[in-house]
Symmetry: C2
Subunit: 212 residues, 2 copies
């Protein structure tokens, strides 16, 4: 029966997903949200191609009306839905080192309807502290916490040697998707999604674009 209510988020590519907050930001900034906006205007304002905008909006909310465009209010509502604003997803971080704490403090996740609610670490000096008001627990509390809160999203920011062990605990705690900063390919059951972050990649790609 649960199949009847699919989430509206699931068919978005990573690329489209990255543009959605920009659509929202611009549309939200309009003083007058009555009426319509054209793909041409949106494309100009966001420095995107018009074809791109039409494709994006077709996926997010459907086709615009010929010669009129998209009704702003329902479009904004579809965007908010797409970003999961109506149902915040909670996530936890394992590993409260430099990267873990940076992510714990980063406030950009809420733009996508995600709230990082807690971190876990083995270091007793970190346990019990509340950077940015968010608690750090011992790693022995992962299962209890995630089960109780029905947490489905987790970030692994521990040293490589501990990453697989942490991953196994997370999976056994009901986590369904893992963002992995450890430099190791994690072994997980088929139904668990893992994205291995390669922090160096963006800089490497930039470097490849400039010639000596």
């Amino acid at each position: 029966m649960e199949d009847i209510k699919p989430t509206e988020k699931k068919n978005f590519s990573r690329a489209l997903l990255s543009r959605i907050p920009h659509y929202r930001k611009y549309l939200s900034s309009l003083s007058d949200k009555e009426g319509y906006i054209s793909a041409t205007v949106l494309a100009n304002k966001l420095s995107l191609g018009e074809v791109q905008v039409r494709k994006d909006l077709a996926v997010i909310s459907g086709e615009g009306r010929p010669r009129i465009g998209y009704e702003i209010k329902p479009l904004l509502l579809s965007i908010e839905n797409a970003l999961g604003k109506d149902r915040i997803s909670e996530a936890v971080i394992v590993g409260a080192g430099k990267i873990g704490c940076a992510l714990l403090e980063f406030d950009g996740f809420l733009d996508y309807g995600i709230n990082i609610v807690a971190a876990f670490d083995t270091d007793s000096h970190k346990i019990g502290t509340f950077p940015s008001g968010k608690p750090i627990f011992g790693t022995d509390k992962i299962k209890e916490y995630c089960t109780e809160h029905n947490t489905r999203l987790a970030v692994i920011a521990v040293p490589t040697r501990s990453a697989q062990e942490v991953c196994d605990i997370l999976v056994s705690s009901g986590i369904k998707a893992i963002w992995n900063f450890a430099r190791i390919d994690l072994k997980v059951p088929k139904d668990i999604k893992v994205y291995r972050e390669d922090l160096a990649l963006s800089l490497a790609h930039l470097n490849s674009l400039i010639n000596d």
Copy 2:
């Protein structure tokens, strides 16, 4: 005349670039590097598609020989070249906060031939310290340092309100590519490359893949 010596890196897509360290890791691990390896074996070992492997290697080092495959030693050499191992690119970070320091300590950049050599910050308590053996200077030293070292790559990890000002200083200091963690679209001259990092995107995409 400089056009005669193009860098070998410049035509790699971000996706291909992300796979190159995996090719290197596996090929380097082979105890016997004499002889040939087939696309089939490589694809199996790296859990990639065979067509993908053939395409990748064609870009990196050329076609393999029918029924024999790719000669390992020259392939490894091409990979090292592709990753810029023969000419390390130096990069600097502006902003020694949580993210800046995490990047300063991260050792994965060297896999792509990039060395983060220094950071800059306005906080006098941070200036002069050497996390991971790397110096932190005052932001007033950016121009002097980058000009002297002919630095072309920079990371902006400062608060949003300072990002454009820092960007302008970097551009006037000869920086050609900027990896921007600030949540603002930077204005730069046409010849400067900027990649705006959206730290939340990976987790948002993972979240969109799991359904309630």
